[in-house]
Symmetry: C2
Subunit: 766 residues, 2 copies
């Protein structure tokens, strides 16, 4: 056999195995005629995209073998599970990962049976699939993942098959421009293969139905050299594909304008051409299961058998069901196999970050709450040193907000990745910049996911409100991590770290559209085993939190921290201790020392902490007999039951902090019901009164934002007075005073456009 014949045989084997997965419970080698009992009762899976994915994989294997090329494969078309599994089995890596799925007839039977079957494996490419960094569930992220994998992997080529359905999504459409952020010197190459099989679920696709001239221009407009491979006669398309891949990999080796491939082959290629009088191959009817009634309909069953036998399994597998040596001739060795690449199980390659001592960036705190720092500005200096110490495996992502979020110290040592035109007036642009800024949260997230899943580290800084843009991507990544934890061979990867700044309480100037703390609610819906949420109230606690997150594995860490000046509360040692506990009493702000409190003022988030401290100061001055305890929460998960989250406080500890019977006025950064949801099983829950963002906002001042939502110091004092039994005359007087103070602050704001100075510059007065 010549090379193309080998490739064709391998392709037929992969197609055979794909069809078998979709249909068969038993009789994997068709050693007897197909019976109803051999057929799965529920036919699930997607044939349509599969032969195209198999085709690309088969041809890329030849390139790997010929050129000893390091390569991984990202299968964008979601429903290509059977293809990726078939290859892993043919290449032997499936059996290495799952020894009970042996590379013989019994293994093949199990391979078929488990596919999309209860207790088995998903129908999509998934964490369970060897060689995959990309879940084929929600569509649109393949190309961003591919670029993320290629960054800082100079010798890697990431082949990325993009379905023409997926190509209609926004995130994919934006991803074509990723090349402007790729450094040819230190990044690997991405080879996009736009697979136009013409249809999505039930419709034609846009890119398959525009004139080819337009499509070519589009790809050129994205910055590529497009190559078209088209046809429906396998032997002809084999020839064109092989030649094109040789050209394309020469082009990649030469550098310059990157190539891409437009592959036009029929949907469901080599499957049934017509079923019950309707065309199937080459139409949307091939999307899922072309023959739907094979268990009950003998004609359909016979068609299935003819279809499977058309791949000539007897030439592909020996009597024991093992793939014959001939078809494995183009399969690479060991880690060169795309199904066994360590890049696709990034934990195998993960090097821990070299972390400088965050304590060196501590702000000095001589007395609590008497000086101010900008937390993210302080963090920026730590991140600068992280970048210096880890020049090839750490990246900072952000949608053009790194400076706005005051992390600009990083630009002392690196630039923004940029591989397009530069002008003399530009600043901090560099092809190999460690900071990636594109005005697309989708790209920031997608690139970072690809980067992390291939064994590197990073942090995504974002305006809090707009992180909702990637809610769905976060969900999918969290699910990937949840699933991966159950897969023994998946090695831990670095956590996905979010730094949410420019948050709801300090988007007063940008207005209502920029005010939304709800990402925390989305995050908290995911499994306790993978999500962590931190609200450090000052610069030193932010440093400690960030250091902790950068060391962690397999989590999504969300850090909410302000960029505006906030009071310094903790010395560095205190900050580390406070963050380690996750929450604690601020003794110096409390007046209940040595006794039980009358009321607990709890807080989470920088602005709520400031307002809580101010309220505590007012109470100390005006109601000195009232015993007030101030509790600050950094790690939100501490509030949950230990049965719900590994960070959860034991009930006894929780009650010791919050009491079981005293009013708790909880001032919270986000929507108030999140706190109720976390503490609803606690003994004292009915005493919790939570203030938070209740969707009141506009263009105004910071303190007016607080007042609009009743999280301000004056309202907290009113809340205390309303809830402490038997208020004194002094309390009633103070309450009226608080109402007046609110009116006065509001009037000042309306008149002068800024908060009264005594509020803006308030510090702990004792």
């Amino acid at each position: 056999m010549d090379a193309l014949a080998h490739i064709d045989a391998y392709w037929r084997a992969a197609n055979y195995l794909s069809v078998g997965q979709i249909y068969l419970l038993d009789n994997p080698l068709l050693t007897e005629p197909l019976q109803p009992g051999h057929i799965k009762p529920r036919l699930l899976g997607h044939w349509g995209t599969t032969p195209g994915l198999n085709f690309c994989f088969a041809h890329l294997n030849r390139i790997i073998a010929d050129r000893d090329q390091d390569m991984i494969y990202v299968a964008g078309p979601g429903h290509g599970g059977p293809a990726a599994v078939a290859h892993a089995w043919l290449e032997g890596s499936y059996t290495e990962k799952y020894p009970d799925i042996s590379r013989d007839a019994e293994g093949m039977r199990r391979l078929f049976r488990q596919f999309s079957f209860p207790g088995g494996i998903p129908s999509h490419v998934a964490p369970e699939t060897p060689g995959s960094i990309h879940e084929g569930g929600e569509l649109g992220y393949s190309l961003a993942h591919a670029y993320g994998a290629a960054f800082d992997n100079p010798h890697l080529v990431v082949a990325c098959v993009i379905g023409d359905g997926e190509a209609e999504t926004g995130p994919l459409a934006a991803s074509w421009h990723s090349g402007k952020f790729r450094d040819p010197g230190r990044d690997g190459a991405v080879l996009p293969i736009l697979h136009l099989n013409g249809y999505k679920i039930a419709n034609p696709t846009v890119l398959a139905r525009i004139p080819e001239e337009e499509l070519i221009k589009l790809m050129q407009g994205y910055g590529f050299r497009p190559h078209v491979v088209a046809g429906d006669d396998p032997s002809a398309v084999h020839q064109i594909m092989a030649e094109t891949l040789d050209t394309v990999f020469d082009e990649i080796a030469e550098g310059g304008r990157p190539p891409m491939i437009i592959l036009r082959t029929p949907k469901g290629w080599t499957g049934p051409k017509e079923v019950d009088g309707l065309p199937v191959e080459g139409t949307w009817r091939a999307h899922q299961v072309p023959l739907a009634a094979v268990r009950d309909n003998a004609d359909h069953r016979a068609m299935l058998e003819r279809w499977m036998r058309s791949y000539r399994p007897e030439e592909l597998f020996d009597a024991e069901g093992r793939p014959i040596a001939e078809i494995l001739r183009t399969v690479p060795e060991g880690p060169r196999r795309m199904s066994a690449s360590p890049h696709a199980n990034g934990g195998e390659l993960l090097r821990p970050l070299t972390l400088p001592d965050f304590r060196e960036h501590a702000v000095e705190v001589k007395a609590p709450a008497s000086t101010f720092s900008e937390p993210t500005r302080v963090l920026g200096r730590f991140l600068r040193d992280v970048i210096t110490a880890n020049p090839d495996n750490f990246r900072l992502m952000g949608p053009d907000e790194t400076t706005s979020n005051r992390l600009q110290a990083v630009f002392e040592v690196t630039g923004r990745a940029w591989n397009a035109e530069t002008l003399p007036t530009d600043e901090h642009l560099a092809p190999d910049g460690r900071v990636m800024e594109v005005l697309s949260e989708h790209l920031c997230q997608g690139w970072l996911e690809g980067y992390l899943l291939t064994g590197r580290h990073g942090l995504f800084n974002c305006y809090e409100a707009f992180i909702h843009i990637v809610d769905a991507m976060f969900n999918q990544h969290a699910k990937w991590l949840e699933s991966s934890k159950r897969i023994p061979w998946r090695r831990p990867v670095a956590s996905l770290n979010y730094l949410l700044s420019s948050h709801v309480w300090r988007q007063d100037h940008n207005g209502f559209s920029h005010q939304d703390p709800g990402f925390l609610d989305v995050v908290m819906n995911k499994k306790a085993s993978v999500v962590r949420v931190y609200l450090p109230p000052d610069a030193n606690t932010l440093l400690s939190t960030a250091d902790h997150c950068l060391r962690s594995r397999d989590y999504v860490n969300v850090i909410v921290a302000g960029k505006q000046p906030v009071l310094d509360l903790f010395t560095m040692d205190e900050a580390v201790a406070h963050c380690t506990r996750g929450l604690g009493i601020l003794e110096w702000a409390s007046t209940d020392v040595g006794s039980d409190p009358d009321v607990v003022l709890a807080c989470a988030g920088d602005v709520p902490t400031l307002e809580t401290l101010a309220a505590a100061a007012i109470l100390r001055e005006h109601l000195p007999e009232l015993k007030v305890r101030v509790v600050n929460v950094v790690d939100l998960m501490r509030l949950q039951q230990p049965s719900e989250h590994p960070h959860g406080l034991a009930d006894a500890e929780f009650d010791a902090l919050f009491t079981a019977d005293r009013p708790v006025i909880f001032d919270f950064h986000g929507y108030p019901w999140l706190i109720h949801r976390l503490v609803y099983r606690r003994a004292g829950h009915h005493n919790f009164h939570v203030r938070g963002y209740k969707e009141e906002g506009t263009t105004t001042t910071p303190f007016d934002m607080a007042m609009l939502n009743d999280i301000d110091r004056f309202h907290l004092v009113m809340d205390v007075i309303d809830r402490v039994p038997g208020p004194s005359a002094g309390a009633a007087h103070l309450r009226r005073h608080m109402v007046d103070e609110r009116l006065r602050a509001r009037a000042h704001t309306r008149e002068y456009g800024e908060d009264p100075a005594e509020i803006r510059d308030w510090a702990w007065p004792y």
Copy 2:
């Protein structure tokens, strides 16, 4: 003055008014030298994009006047608030909407003062801005909104200025292909103006820095005829822009390949060229406030004054501050003014839907829970008739899932909108189709928003898990509605209706990535005044709910309904009554009639309702002495306090249904804590035990999905036994039996790949 001189004068006036808004508290006409007291204490706003927006607006006005063209203006660059406000004031519509902002010096002073000032208006284009359908907060949706506005408005041109920052986002990148879904025969035209000023916040932009040849190809690849207008000398660029617009509007009138404009002008054009020795005009430094220290720095203040006087205000406004007649010569009349177009206040044009009688589509229910229907299939027949009765103001959106969601009856009367190549094998494609299917939830949402805000109706059907893709867009639209309710001149528009099908409990076959009911949590964070959530449990309640939602105004309605067969529970009359109440006791399934229940089984969602009924049947058979009440909830908002939501049940009614002291086992469609969050203030909350999705999922069967998350009938019975005091010997026996039944069902599933028939086909046995 010739036409260009008029346009230039108008442009200078708009620029002057824009700068004034950003900087001035007083002295609007510069009748005296600028003093610190004239300057706002906090300088907020964005100059960078503003002169470009003003430039386009000025030139488009000439076209409107010359051609009597109906046109609206979508300002994509978020921070263009000052521009849109300036035009509305110049055109007189601002004063019509806000009479205290008169078109004279005092009005100008107020106009300046209120901008981005507490108690004033946002710095972005917002609902408060006359002539706007597009909030300039979160970026990426301008072009989708523009197409949505153009659909079914054959005589309208939507001019859409796209910022080059925004152009990096995914949703915008996908929107360029919207033309493939536009019918030249019955839809209006969209004129994209890609405004390349070169920078986003702190970075250059991709499209400004690729070779022009590439950019031209990109736009041709998107299907446009691009026209370049570039320069920095105003008089030259005026000339080119005017000629180009004449050409472009001729091309629009002729039909054929649609034109678009690439406009390259400096960021912060006509602003300070250099400040403190650094270049500003034409760089990212012009993004926000080019002169930052004008209050304290006399040099900066002098520069500001020179800058403002460079527009020669004395030639533009008379001594009373009124714009002189000459500069208003190109301003259109009445509703032709883009700032006064009724299209941009869609409620003015809103015609109620002609709604066929949904009762005609009722399924017959002779006995409750004895027959099965597919709810969305039944709904599809109603939607078909809605489409027939409303051929020009109703559209059905979906990411290629309309048939998958079983709404395919609509294709009996209409097609899918499609204006690209068609093949003989295609089905249900039509240029004027009422169904819009593109594999982009962002486009579905963006088009629908644009369509609704210009006074039409629609419904977006989507897989439940993937609606998270538009979480952020939902947030922004909800905020738009919330704000609009406070603006007297904004007329009510049709609600945004979501139909979420293919939901978490029936994505068993597609696996973990497709299982996520968390959109409800996102929705519930928004204001009670604009969000509604419905979980109709059967076909007839779905019909009643859909009819109600299609009649409503200014809400976001979320309907969760399955496509798989579910038990028919309600006759049509019963369904209407049940939906009107929003929740109620299923008497026929309850055994507490005439007395207090021992336990309440509550449910919301179709699968939880089925499981709850099955549990009730088991309890009735095995523990006949136990008094069980079954409560079904359709309208989730009924659970909240009336103080929290207008639909909230009074406490007395709530307690009458759920009791204050009996265990309530609540089987819920979504994440369980959502129910806790809704009922935490109710007297009986501590008795609520909620089952729901707890992020357990895989590729399996429907009943196995229920068991994985403990929402299944057997577990509900166990929950009852665990919570009813003093269990009998019979109860202990039944509990063991339930454990066995779960094991048996699971084993069956693992063996046969499907649920046991008696579970799959279960119906109410009495």
